[in-house]
C-alpha cells in the first residue's frame, strides 16, 4: 500500500488518450461536414474534453496496481515451483493468458 501510481501521472496519460480520440473524432466529423449539412453549434459542445474526478483516478491507479501485482505474484508462484529465484520471461508466459482474461 505504501507505493503506487501517482494519480496525476495516470490522469496525464488519460488526457493524452482522450485528446487523441477527440482529434480522430473531429477528423471524421470534418469529412461528414464537407458532404452533409453544417451543424456547427452542437459539435463544439459535444467535443468538450472528458474529465475525471479524483476518486475515480485513485481507483484507476489501484486497478493498474492490482494488474502489476497479479502479474508478478502469479509469475512468482510459477518460478517458485521451478525452484528459481528470478522471474524469467517463460514464467510470465505461463500466466499471461489467464492474466489478460482477468483484466
Amino acid at each position: 500500500m505504501e507505493n503506487g501510481f501517482d494519480p496525476d501521472l495516470i490522469y496525464a496519460i488519460f488526457k493524452r488518450v482522450w485528446s487523441r480520440k477527440t482529434r480522430e473524432r473531429e477528423a471524421n466529423e470534418d469529412v461528414e461536414m464537407v458532404g452533409g449539412s453544417e451543424v456547427g453549434i452542437g459539435t463544439s459542445k459535444r467535443n468538450r474534453p472528458t474529465t475525471a474526478n479524483s476518486n475515480a483516478l485513485k481507483l484507476s491507479c489501484e486497478l493498474i496496481k492490482l494488474f502489476v501485482a497479479e502479474a508478478v505474484n502469479r509469475a512468482a508462484i510459477i518460478a517458485e515451483a521451478e525452484g528459481i529465484n528470478t522471474i524469467e520471461a517463460t514464467h510470465l508466459e505461463r500466466v499471461l493468458p489467464q492474466l489478460l482474461l482477468d483484466f
Binding site: L9, N53, A56, L59, L66, A71, A79, N85, I87, F103
Partner: protein
C-alpha cells in the same frame, strides 16, 4: 497494423515517452515490492513486458472510461465507471467496490478539503473505521 504505426508516431512526440518512463518507474517499485514477498527478483525483460502491458491496459482503460462516461451522458469519469471497467473479474470488481466505499466515506469527513498526501488520508481514514466499529 497501420493504426498501431500511426498511434506510435503520435505517441513519440509530445512527451508521451516521458509519461511512459515515469509510468515505468512507479511500476518497477511496485513490482519489486511484490517480488520481495516471494524473495524473488524480476528479470529485466519481464519488467519491460509487464510495463508495456500495464501501459496498454491504462490506455485501454482510458478509452473504456470515456465511453462509459459518455454513455451515461457525462463529461466526467466517476468511480462507478472504473468499477464497471473491472466487471470481467468478480474479485477485482469487489476489491474496487470496497475501495470506492472507503474513498466515499472519507469525503464528507475532510469537508471537501483535499490533502495533498494520500498516505495521511489513508491513515486518518483507517483510524475512523476503528472508531466506528
Amino acid at each position: 497494423m497501420d493504426r498501431s504505426g500511426s498511434d506510435l508516431e503520435a505517441d513519440e512526440d509530445e512527451g508521451m515517452q516521458l509519461l511512459r518512463d515515469r509510468f515505468r518507474l512507479s511500476l518497477i517499485s511496485i513490482a519489486e515490492t511484490e517480488a520481495k514477498k516471494y524473495d524473488m527478483e524480476v528479470s529485466a525483460p519481464v519488467m519491460g513486458c509487464v510495463s508495456d502491458l500495464a501501459f496498454k491496459l491504462t490506455e485501454q482503460l482510458a478509452k473504456d472510461l470515456e465511453l462509459f462516461a459518455h454513455h451515461g451522458n457525462r463529461k466526467s469519469v466517476n468511480m462507478d465507471d472504473v468499477i464497471l471497467s473491472a466487471h470481467r473479474n468478480e474479485h477485482v470488481a469487489t476489491l474496487l467496490r470496497s475501495m470506492a466505499l472507503e474513498l466515499k466515506a472519507k469525503e464528507p469527513q475532510i469537508e471537501k478539503k483535499r490533502k495533498k498526501t494520500p498516505k495521511q488520508m489513508e491513515r486518518t481514514g483507517a483510524d475512523d473505521v476503528l472508531e466506528l466499529s
